[in-house]
């Protein structure tokens, strides 16, 4: 019998039974699968099947047997099904909006889980409450945005993070155009601006380093002792503290206050785009003056220049000098 078929039959049997079934009874029910061959091989096969059922998150229980209860296995019906969820229309709509947007996050490592979770929500809520919002969100995507390799890497990393296994990366460096091998302890994954970033402790540098998952060329999880972790998570580790959100937040120099002035028609859009990370957004008539805490003026320059003639750097003088030099090159006055 096909393994998927056997596991589903086993789930149906153990979920339906009122009293625990002994291994002998299960063997008898599946004569082809557990009834033939060497005893050890059969026992191992049954162990693997039990592990699969547990890995699916199903409440498989071994009853040890006493005067009230028979010895054997069953799936606890009370703990199997998702209980009803009392979610209001707004809560449902928000979960589905966030969920459907997250499905498209450049090959999210949780894509399949998210599809299943959103369906479970719709089954666990009454069909009247918020059915419209649930219906209005299609979950299928015909063309996934990320490459197959990146999705595989995210999947492997996700498992390695949960199981705390050492990983060997073949990595195409961002700054130096070279491919290196690194042994790392994967601490976590962060999604930022269309990129999944692996936060990991690099053994070579003995420090926390960031790796763009789309630049990982190869990935191998330590095959030794698959069931025991290779490292411990550092106490109090804060994942997002290691990931700068914007290019000007790269730690290139001590923080300085950068002040930019935006003119219409981009003033509103610039305030919306930079506002959440800004120290201050000031209105000057139609214009907006945005102050940022900046640790990389070089990182801020492309953002400033992208607003073209409608943005000007007011402070600090170093940023004004960078902008002047760049504009001179663009004007054809310097070296191209």
């Amino acid at each position: 019998m096909d393994k998927a078929e056997r596991l589903l039959d086993l789930v149906a049997l153990l979920l339906h039974t009122r009293e625990p079934l002994s291994f002998e009874e299960i063997q008898h029910a599946f004569p082809e699968d557990y009834g033939q061959g060497h005893e050890d091989a059969i026992a191992r096969k049954f162990e693997r099947d039990k592990a699969d059922i547990l890995a699916l998150g199903l409440p498989l229980k071994l009853c040890l047997g006493d005067e009230y209860e028979k010895e054997g296995y069953l799936i606890e019906r009370q703990r199997y099904g998702q209980p009803a969820l009392d979610l209001g229309p707004e809560e449902l709509a928000l979960l589905f909006l966030a969920g459907s947007a997250a499905l498209d996050l450049e090959g999210s490592p949780f894509q399949r889980d998210l599809v299943l979770a959103l369906n479970k929500i719709s089954l666990a809520t009454s069909p009247e409450g918020g059915a419209r919002s649930v219906r209005s969100v299609p979950l299928a995507r015909s063309a996934p945005t990320a490459g197959l390799r990146q999705r595989e890497h995210l999947e492997v990393l996700r498992r390695a993070i949960a199981e705390r296994k050492l990983v060997t990366l073949t990595y195409h460096g961002l700054w130096k155009d070279e491919i290196t091998q690194r042994k790392v302890h994967p601490y976590g994954l962060v999604y930022r601006r269309g990129v999944w970033i692996l936060v990991a402790h690099c053994q070579l540098r003995d420090a926390v380093r960031l790796f763009h998952v789309d630049r990982i060329r190869g990935l191998a999880v330590n095959p030794l002792k698959p069931r025991s972790p290779d490292f411990e998570w550092p106490a109090g580790f804060e994942l997002t503290a290691h990931v700068p959100r914007e290019p000007w937040q790269l730690r290139a120099h001590p923080p300085v206050r950068a002040v930019l002035r935006f003119e219409p028609p981009v003033a509103e859009a610039a305030a919306a785009e930079l506002g959440p990370e800004a120290l201050e957004v000031r209105e000057e008539g139609e214009a907006r003056v945005v102050s940022l805490e900046c640790t990389s003026l070089e990182g801020l320059l492309p953002t400033l220049l992208a607003y073209r003639g409608r943005a000007v750097a007011l402070e600090p003088p170093e940023l004004r000098a960078l902008a002047r030099a760049a504009l001179a090159r663009l004007a054809g006055e310097g070296q191209p």
Partner: protein
């Protein structure tokens, strides 16, 4: 989670889903489960083999497609979806971070936290413990611009109401007012897009949410088109054409060549022996070209068309004057 596990989890959800929604159209079920219709039909055929020992006719799952709709008669105890796993809860919680970390969305953030709290409350203790252990290790950072318009967009999407928006179009370089029928809210490269049918042009369009200055709900209710996939539409809309329209040629310095390679498809690229990289584009707006080249501050130039190169130089001279 292996392919086998993913498949089994899907099948254990499929049966209760059909049990609850008897006669669900095959196409709708496929879309909900993220499968294609042929694949779904294969799985339904497979499920006919599933049952309980001793596998008498009454012990088998009875699930079938009739007139393009799916029915189940004998669900064999599979009437409820299994509980949320730790990974599924994690998937929801990371997705929720797209909204809850935006300070300006206090109400939405509260609603989202409450919703997650209810889901967490329904988990068995060991699943919840596993979720809590793992959740510190996965994060989704919201986009820089955030989503201050989320409440009104959510309502329009949910109730299929038309929206009147004031939108800054970078392509035109001006603010326009238009009435749109919202079809989806999508995130690409950290940027939120509203995919909506533009009533004036009578075609779907993608709008950067950060460039929508105001959005007002209209009374008009519309029928969303069947089978339209906002995500697929947006992907196509963000893909640059490779033929037709005006030809634009850009040259990028060697130091930014690698950055460029990751942003354009190989069909657009032409290598040069000196390490510089040419990008040939078709039918792209002036604003797109000027913004892309300007942002690189001299590490890129416009080779064709000449008048656009001249416009970039003129703009730069004008901007430079403000630093005098």
């Amino acid at each position: 989670m292996s392919d086998l596990h993913d498949r089994l989890r899907t099948l254990l959800l499929l049966v209760p889903y059909v049990y609850r929604h008897r006669g669900v159209p095959l196409a709708e079920l496929a879309a909900r489960l993220g499968m294609d219709e042929a694949g779904l039909e294969r799985e339904i055929d497979f499920l006919l083999l599933v049952g309980r020992p001793p596998f008498m006719p009454g012990d088998m799952l009875d699930i079938y497609v009739e007139g393009g709709r799916v029915f189940v008669d004998l669900p064999q105890s599979l009437v409820k979806a299994p509980r949320f796993t730790a990974a599924e809860t994690l998937a929801l919680a990371t997705a929720a971070q797209l909204f809850v970390t935006d300070e300006r969305l206090a109400d939405a953030a509260t609603a989202m936290r409450v919703a997650l709290g209810k889901i967490l409350g329904s988990l068995p203790a060991e699943t919840r413990a596993l979720f809590e252990q793992l959740s510190a290790h996965f994060a989704v950072l919201p986009s820089g611009a955030g989503l201050p318009l989320l409440p009104v967009l959510r309502q329009a999407l949910e109730e299929h109401r038309e929206l009147e928006i004031l939108h800054y179009s970078a392509g035109k370089g001006q603010v326009t007012r238009r009435v749109v029928q919202p079809l989806g809210l999508q995130l690409r490269g950290g940027v939120w897009y509203l995919v909506a049918h533009c009533t004036e042009r009578d075609e779907p369009r993608a709008f950067r949410v950060s460039r929508i200055q105001t959005a007002a709900l209209c009374e008009t209710i519309f029928d969303p088109p069947a089978g339209f996939e906002p995500g697929a539409f947006l992907d196509a809309a963000l893909t640059l054409p490779t033929v037709g329209g005006r030809r634009v040629v850009l040259r990028f310095a060697a130091e930014v060549a690698r950055w460029v390679r990751e942003r354009y498809r190989p069909e657009h690229l032409q290598d040069s022996p000196d390490g510089t990289l040419r990008v040939v584009l078709h039918d792209v707006s002036d604003e797109y070209v000027l913004t892309t080249v300007a942002a690189l501050g001299g590490r890129a130039e416009i080779l064709e068309p000449a008048e656009l190169a001249e416009r970039l130089r003129a703009e730069a001279r004008e901007a430079l004057a403000r630093y005098a």
